[in-house]
């Protein structure tokens, strides 16, 4: 027991250091400015925004998964519900850290409230995720107090589910309604984001729970995890299908922007013309999950979910960067035809800070909030 306590203290100390570094990063960004990022007026949004999309979508996926017991009343999943809601909150906090440090002037955020623009998908995205965070925190508080099934508690669960469905659509529309960047695929991007949200949320839940179970030696029935692994396989299958369709359209079209996009070197390399991150981070785990032996083994689940979690981040980054790879209009006078981008150390530190906050919350929650309890 004391060895475990010792390990926990070391872990907390590591997270403490990460958070101190994160605070220093915040200070540097506010004083020096975003010139610290390897961005410019062509590659405008970079790693911190990719991390935001990644974490925010995963948080929505976790909330959607939590709806199985909390909204649709599938009782056998109740032992997972509290953890799912908590993970969704913590992951969303990580997402907010990342986007907060991406914004040029976070103090002007009050104007989101005082001068809202209802035609802006960014406004809706911020409002919906903000509201979702509040709803999830209140819902978690009620569950923690033992109120799982009161009318109010159920209404909150339903509200969080609806918000979690709409938020990814909004993230997608931030890109999708950009007339000048057709490679973002218009409204299709919203559907893609929703599918990615569910897949990555499920991957995060499986990966996290199985690791924690291993560390704590918790005995949760393995059949239930097998069922989650099956849900995960279906979610991955849908994303695989969607991605193939996207590839087919991309390669068949002769719309000039897409032709320019083809010239863009795949950000993370390609194997036989296919994006590496898609092959290794989506197709490979999907194939692995098709084998029942892999799907049913703890190691197989962890490997597949780890691959998807990594692949998803790279896929978001690839899409984000590919749409900004060439200068728009007169900016071509100032910048080369295609822009290379690799994150600066400060961008990596923002990522680390977001992860640090998320992991700190996960660890404290796991330790003090009894995340596996279920109603009587």
């Amino acid at each position: 027991m004391s060895a475990k306590k010792g390990l926990f203290s070391i872990w907390m100390a590591i997270l403490g250091i990460i958070i101190l570094i994160g605070l220093f990063t915040t200070y540097k960004l506010f004083t020096t400015g975003h010139v610290l990022f390897n961005t410019n007026d062509v590659v405008i949004w970079s790693l911190p925004l990719g991390v935001y999309i990644y974490l925010a979508l995963a948080s929505s996926g976790l909330t959607i998964l939590a709806a199985l017991p909390l909204v649709f009343g599938i009782g056998k999943y109740e032992p997972f519900a509290k953890r799912l809601v908590f993970l969704a909150i913590a992951t969303l906090c990580g997402a907010f850290v990342s986007i907060g440090l991406e914004l040029g002037n976070v103090f002007h955020m009050i104007y989101i409230m005082f001068s809202p623009n209802l035609s802006s998908p960014i406004w809706w995205m911020g409002a919906i995720y903000g509201l979702e965070l509040i709803v999830l925190i209140v819902k978690f508080g009620l569950m923690h107090k033992g109120d799982w099934h009161s009318g109010f508690s159920k209404a909150l669960a339903t509200a969080s589910f609806i918000l979690a469905l709409v938020a990814p659509l909004m993230i997608g529309s931030v890109f999708g309604i950009t007339e000048s960047r057709v490679t973002y695929f218009g409204p299709v991007m919203s559907i893609y984001c929703l599918l990615m949200a569910f897949m990555s949320g499920t991957a995060l839940f499986l990966f996290y729970s199985l690791i924690v179970n291993k560390l704590n030696g918790n005995g949760v029935p393995t059949e239930l995890y097998d069922e989650f692994a099956l849900i995960f396989t279906y979610a991955t299958a849908v994303v695989v299908g969607f991605t193939l369709l996207k590839f087919a359209i991309e390669s068949a079209t002769v719309v000039p922007e897409f032709l320019a996009y083809h010239q863009f070197e795949h950000a993370f390399g390609a194997i036989r013309g296919l994006h590496t991150e898609v092959l290794l981070g989506l197709f490979l785990p999907f194939v692995l999950l098709l084998f029942p032996a892999v799907r049913k083994s703890v190691g197989g689940k962890i490997a597949a979910s780890a691959l998807i979690l990594t692949g998803t981040l790279f896929m978001h980054m690839e899409i984000l960067l590919a749409g900004q790879s060439h200068p728009v209009g007169p900016k071509a006078e100032q910048y080369p035809e295609f822009i290379n981008y690799f994150p600066s150390i400060w961008e990596f530190l923002v990522f680390l800070f977001a992860l640090g906050i998320m992991l700190l919350l996960y660890s404290l929650g796991e330790r003090f909030l009894n995340l596996t309890e279920a109603p009587e």
Binding site: G33, N105, H108, Y111, I112, S119, V174, S180, G329
Partner: protein, 241 residues
């Protein structure tokens, strides 16, 4: 209320860049940022080549994607059609820059006019440092800054917000032309009220078939280009096989 627009006569434009220099001076535009810019293009294969030059600026679109997407209405439309920015409300999300189909918005990645913050003089005790020079002339950021710009927008924007052409709204308010139009030595830029059928803008648009940049995406840009500079002659021909 007028609706302002600009006609750029490409036959008159000699590509001298006076508009861009004047804009820079008028609006205290920092290094690396262009409110007034250009698209250049070389076409053909040597020796049959031509160079095209299209001056660019914010198109003050009627259906401006930058305005539609801005979460705080920092980017907004004025009644006279000008697309205006309010840095006080800008959260620096850069969505307008991402959204603008014309590449005319820039972000202040760092505090502008860094050179003039330097406290070191070239010859200690001899020459003034850039910072001292700014102080001596009683300016804030650069010794050559135009304080009149500050009437409707901070004369110098700060880091963390975007900026772009405002059609010199501060001058237009006083009945003056945008500085680029005034400075153009070839009178290639014609500014005016497109709603007034007697304005020079309206007359030119009735006389020549204009084109606008990326018209097909439905933003209704209000920078119109007419004619094209081409002194080339060629022998009449029907071609051949």
């Amino acid at each position: 209320m007028p609706r302002y627009a600009m006609v750029i006569d490409l036959q008159r434009c000699v590509g001298c860049g006076a508009c861009s220099i004047a804009c820079r001076n008028e609006n205290n535009v920092p290094e690396g940022i262009y409110w007034s810019n250009k698209i250049t293009e070389t076409v053909g294969t040597f020796p049959n080549v031509r160079y095209h030059y299209i001056p660019t600026l914010c198109n003050h679109c009627e259906y401006a994607p930058c305005v539609r997407g801005c979460p705080t209405q920092a980017m907004h439309k004025l009644d006279n059609g000008i697309t205006m920015h309010d840095p006080k409300k800008c959260i620096g999300c850069k969505y307008c820059e991402f959204n603008c189909p014309y590449g005319v918005i820039y972000f202040n990645w760092k505090a502008p006019h860094q050179f003039w913050r330097n406290k070191n003089s070239l010859l200690k005790g001899g020459t003034a440092s850039p910072r001292e020079e700014v102080k001596k002339v009683g300016a804030k950021k650069t010794p050559y800054e135009n304080p009149e710009r500050g009437a409707t927008l901070p004369a110098n924007r700060s880091k963390g917000v975007v900026e772009k052409c405002t059609f010199c709204d501060h001058r237009v308010k006083k009945g003056l032309l945008p500085r680029c139009a005034e400075a153009c030595p070839a009178n290639a830029r014609v500014f005016g009220d497109i709603k007034d059928p007697n304005s020079d803008v309206s007359k030119l648009l009735g006389k020549f078939r204009p084109f606008r940049l990326r018209e097909q995406i439905g933003t209704n840009p209000h920078i119109f280009y007419i004619r094209g500079f081409n002194p080339a002659q060629y022998k009449q021909t029907k071609g051949g096989i």
